[in-house]
Subunit: 134 residues, 3 copies
Amino acid sequence: MVKRIQVATRGKGLTEITLAVAEVVRAAGVDEGLCTVFIQHTSASLVIQENADPSARRDLERWLDRLVVEDDPQYTHTSEGPDDMPAHIKAALTATSLSIPVASGQLGLGTWQGIYVWEHRHRGGRRGVLVQVG
Amino acid sequence: MVKRIQVATRGKGLTEITLAVAEVVRAAGVDEGLCTVFIQHTSASLVIQENADPSARRDLERWLDRLVVEDDPQYTHTSEGPDDMPAHIKAALTATSLSIPVASGQLGLGTWQGIYVWEHRHRGGRRGVLVQVG
Amino acid sequence: MVKRIQVATRGKGLTEITLAVAEVVRAAGVDEGLCTVFIQHTSASLVIQENADPSARRDLERWLDRLVVEDDPQYTHTSEGPDDMPAHIKAALTATSLSIPVASGQLGLGTWQGIYVWEHRHRGGRRGVLVQVG
């Protein structure tokens, strides 16, 4: 079973999708198996991070922003705006796909784990995410 | 088939779990398929690295330590200790899940590949890892 | 179904394997499912990146080259050449496995996504890649 969900991001940062993914798992009715989340973009990515304290996600976002700067004079791929090349690099350093075992019909996430879409463009947009359960 | 294994880490660094994962694959009795390893934490992660020369794993650990420093004045998430925010960043830059094809009943690892839990906290602890074979 | 493909890389950089992976999916005849790509090496890795403008892939390659330098005096794992330790680090920061949902018999890639082997050694070589469809 493959379902496509659309995630509206409001600019750079993390948008939680744990509940939407869990809903696909529930609908699939699989007791033991695997749930794979895949993002269909190269300027946004996926990450599993702490779901408790928002300061951890903010610090994470800012840290990556300082590592992959916008005004790098060595970029040649600049036609799509100053945030496009950094977005591709950030996507390459994080995850495009994540696979989470399903046991007793539920995602095997740890207590403090949430699944997030990580938007790397300033403007954000509608991001397509495939969720496969099998 | 989903099995949970517990990995005791002794502070920062890599702990090999290849044999424990291979044992789950053997017990599952699957001839061709997929083995997924998933870590249920956000301050420890997974990595496949060279299993031969330990100096490669030591250099890897030290390199990441220099990239993601502890005493960054820009961190605001500091309530859980100076090594907590760096641990979340390191986890985001490495893997939370890894999937390895199974062929002829065995993990399809290359000759020099080992599967490791990468502990990012000083203290270490018991880390939950799910292994799914299907 | 697990198939091993061999990818000849010509030194550092990205080599596209999207068509080869799609061919394995076609041959498997699976309508809905999951395709997992796994590289059997620790000095080369996998990445999904923009398949349109080659300048994005060149900038990505150069950016990682500047982040993970060759002449780092702190490396102790130097016996296999100056590009070996950086190659292990780069592999750890990118992907060893990627999983892509299959729907209507096709890889669920976004319009601008291509699958690439990322060679991190100067010399390149023959890289073994497993493709599992199930």
